[in-house]
């Protein structure tokens, strides 16, 4: 079956963002202390600088779409993924999404380096909102995917970064979510790990999982995605077929690079 063609007007979108804005309010003076804050508040000299990481971003994602997000550093890509993952609350705007996400914003978040690989599977799975029983059911599959073998019983402080990455990805991708959210995570590993991650990604896609991913690899977006978004300075400036959006984005990068 061919993957769904981008169709934002599809009957019932899985994910819907309506004019989402995210503002980081930076105090002009650094005020991490209550005393300073109180003094400035009394004197009326609190000055804030507003930084809009996202401005009025709206889009819909239908079930089964694979959406790649491109844009320069600081364009708001990661902020957008954090809002969709519900790690950050948008300042204004509304988001509608019913279902389970698997946010993979960073591999190995929440690993405890004193615990063994096996213990970390439980801890990490629970941080992802899974119950002990659910994890026990998937344990063997996770261990196998991570290719750690007997190392699974050693404390993970002895692991290489590649091993940590594999374990992290194995846990995060152990369950089929409604929406998979990926932030550049396989940049860390070696070629075989990257290939493996891409294979998993394709399996998810073929299974009809909706995916939202940030990547600096134009090739990955072209190969995997059914649709691409281009973010620039917090604004959504293009939304369409990957080939068109990536071409436009590439041209603009070359243009500014001179």
């Amino acid at each position: 079956m061919p993957p769904l063609v981008s169709s934002p007007e599809a009957a019932q979108p899985l994910l819907e963002l309506d004019r989402i804005s995210l503002c980081y309010r930076l105090a002009k003076q650094r005020l991490p202390s209550f005393k300073d804050y109180a003094i400035h508040w009394v004197k009326g000299t609190l000055v804030y600088e507003k930084f809009w990481a996202l401005s009025e971003v709206s889009f819909k994602v239908a079930r089964g779409e694979v959406v790649g997000i491109v844009g320069r550093n600081g364009a708001g890509k990661s902020s957008l993924l954090k809002v969709v993952s519900r790690v950050l609350e948008p300042t204004t705007g509304t988001m509608r999404f019913d279902g389970r996400t698997a946010p993979i914003l960073e591999l190995g978040t929440g690993f405890d380096h004193e615990l063994t690989g096996r213990e970390n599977i439980f801890l990490n799975g629970m941080l992802l909102g899974r119950s002990r029983r659910e994890i026990r059911e998937r344990l063997d599959a996770i261990v196998e995917y991570s290719e750690l073998g007997d190392f699974i019983e050693s404390p993970i402080r002895a692991y290489s970064s590649g091993m940590l990455g594999r374990l992290g990805f194995a846990i995060a991708s152990a369950w089929t979510p409604d929406l998979l959210i990926l932030d550049e995570v396989f940049a860390a590993g070696d070629a075989s790990f990257t290939r493996k991650c891409e294979k998993t990604l394709q399996n998810f896609r073929d299974a009809g999982v909706t995916i939202l991913l940030v990547s600096h690899s134009a090739q990955l977006v072209l190969d995997t995605c059914t649709r691409a978004l281009w973010l620039d300075h917090g604004h959504l400036i293009a939304d369409g077929a990957p080939s068109e959006v990536v071409t436009a984005y590439d041209q603009s990068t070359y243009a500014t690079a001179g």
């Binding site: 991490p32 209550f34 790690v87 978040t109 929440g110 801890l123 629970m126 941080l127 909102g129 002990r132």
Partner: protein
């Protein structure tokens, strides 16, 4: 909603971890946590019976019961205040309900308190203090204390993320509060003009509901109990409300 959970297993795992760190070498770890209140009890006993010359019948039991409550209360508050910042990296990357961290802190505090009741029991027997059935009321007392403490932790934890010096400020306030709570001294020694402060100190109500069954061997009177329960529920409601409001924003400050 802050307390709707598929996350109970996570809370129990966090509690496990907290306790494992504390009791790493089982018995030695436990002895170590008990050493502080025991030493404190010894010092206070000597100070109050020789220097200040007033007599509370079986002062060691009085003071140890109070100190165990106080340690639970103050340590839980300070640790829950730090719990969000300590788990900052995690909170920025995963949509974990932030309330699991203070909750796990208070639950481990309760378990520590329960364990600490064993040496207290030994002291009761050793000093010939009568063991009364009223002690079976303690689970209710501890529940009230836990709800009260969790409320305070939920109220303060987001503030500690935004203002780093709040933790020190709370440390000072707790120090003052310790002296305004009849833990080291009996209410009877207070001069008339100071009595009202201690009487209106909400922590005193919570403390007495815990200590009465141990020290006086009686279930706290219904009026005290009602006041303590209402205080606990009110502080918890306030804490939970403010936590659910502020905790959405604090991720940006971590």
């Amino acid at each position: 909603m802050a307390f709707a959970f598929p996350y109970w297993d996570l809370v129990s795992e966090l509690v496990h971890r907290e306790l494992r760190v504390r009791y790493r070498r089982s018995l030695i770890g436990f002895a170590w946590t008990m050493l502080q209140p025991m030493l404190m009890m010894g010092v206070l006993h000597i100070a109050f019976s020789t220097v200040f010359r007033f007599n509370v019948e079986n002062y060691p039991v009085y003071v140890l019961a109070g100190l165990l409550f106080w340690n639970f209360f103050s340590q839980s508050i300070v640790t829950s205040m730090n719990s969000l910042r300590a788990n900052g990296g995690l909170i920025q990357k995963l949509p974990v309900p932030k309330s699991v961290f203070p909750l796990a802190v208070v639950i481990s505090g309760v378990i520590n308190l329960l364990l600490a009741l064993l040496p207290l029991l030994v002291l009761l027997v050793a000093t010939g203090h009568p063991l009364r059935p009223a002690m079976l009321f303690l689970p209710v007392s501890i529940l009230i204390a836990a709800v009260f403490t969790l409320g305070a932790g939920l109220l303060l934890a987001p503030l500690a993320v935004i203002f780093h010096d709040i933790v020190e400020l709370v440390g000072v306030v707790l120090q003052i509060l310790l002296f305004l709570t009849p833990i080291m001294y009996p209410m009877a020694i207070l001069p008339e003009r100071w009595l009202w402060i201690v009487r209106f100190n909400p922590v005193r109500s919570i403390l007495e509901v815990f200590r009465d069954p141990i020290f006086y061997g009686k279930v706290p009177p219904a009026s005290h109990l009602t006041v303590a329960a209402l205080l606990a529920i009110a502080l918890f409601a306030l804490g939970a409300f403010s936590f659910s409001r502020t905790s959405r924003r604090i991720t940006l400050y971590l």
